[in-house]
Symmetry: C2
Subunit: 198 residues, 2 copies
């Protein structure tokens, strides 16, 4: 739900949803970047984006929904075309992720999402679905590698996907160091060695 | 510093620190497990552990310090003896981690730590130092593998450590699925293939 781009022609009560998304989600990210997660209240977001609280609640029923939608404007679905090479596609994916992980505010946004994601239902469901969505491209890259015979057919796609997806955000929010090109190169090389056919 | 076990003979004002640690950190974990991170206030912890607020503040100046110390009672320094095999030691480490990741409350505790860790100084320093401390055994296992000639000498120990450390917690707090033995087996096999000498 939150963060899925609606068709521009779809209008509910008040402003069209698409028109409201940019200012509201931008306000969420600005507040997090400047002041931290505790500054993200529906009141503060509404004031900064110049929309009503009611409009925000209609679109994003909980603060967690709002955070997931904001996160998706940074770390969203990523399209990596078939490049004919598992290594090349993995490098492309992680380099694109690196850019957004290094933007101001991304660290607090992801950390806040993780923090609120562990609290009560139904928030976890929304967050888990988001994670599933943003790791889908990784699964596709692994499967394409298998189809080409580059990647061993017996690899556990789910485990490989977790391993690929985890490194950069862990560096960012648990080691509290910015991931860099060197980490991306290392992860690409290590994962490729781990999965490639002999 | 939060979580570092003091010598039992060391006593400050009031109760010896070691004696207070168990009830206070147990209270933190109970509150998180039962009610979530928002229930962890110094007042609630003091009441539950039957110690004064002042005693808690003297030992752990911020809520973040307290969370780090509580996390360290779960995910702490891990001693893996030399088993003569990189795979065996990695499996031992991750199996031990798996046990604590699956305990009730660990998910919320780690997620809350990540959430508060992204907020203002000096909390991140405390958290980064904790992460460094709990990943030290992983670095040692990789270095022992290099010394034995099992692991390629040119691997980037820092990157490999991040890759090893990230998978289980990412599964837990970002994918919101409990890590299991199968994930541990897969990670051990993938990492070993990634780093082993040909």
């Amino acid at each position: 739900m939150g963060g899925v781009r609606r068709n521009g022609s779809e209008t509910g009560p008040g402003r069209p949803r698409l028109e409201m998304d940019g200012p509201v989600l931008g306000a969420v990210i600005d507040l997090i970047t400047e002041k931290g997660m505790s500054a993200v209240t529906i009141d503060a977001v509404a004031a900064r984006a110049e929309v009503s609280r009611a409009a925000i609640y209609r679109r994003w029923p909980t603060k967690h929904d709002l955070l997931v939608a904001a996160a998706e404007t940074r770390v969203g679905e990523q399209d990596v075309p078939d490049r004919g090479s598992f290594r090349a596609e993995l490098a492309m994916l992680l380099t694109a992720r690196l850019q957004v992980y290094r933007m101001p505010g991304t660290s607090r946004l992801l950390a806040g999402l993780i923090g609120t994601g562990a609290e009560d239902e139904p928030a976890p469901a929304v967050y888990a679905v988001y994670t599933e969505r943003i790791t889908e491209q990784t699964r596709r890259i692994v499967r394409r590698g298998i189809a080409r015979g580059e990647v061993r057919a017996e690899v556990d796609v789910d485990a490989v996907t977790t391993l690929i997806a985890a490194a950069l955000p862990f560096r960012l929010v648990a080691e509290l160091r910015p991931p860099d090109e060197s980490l991306v190169e290392q992860v690409v090389d290590l994962i490729a060695r781990a999965v490639e056919t002999p």
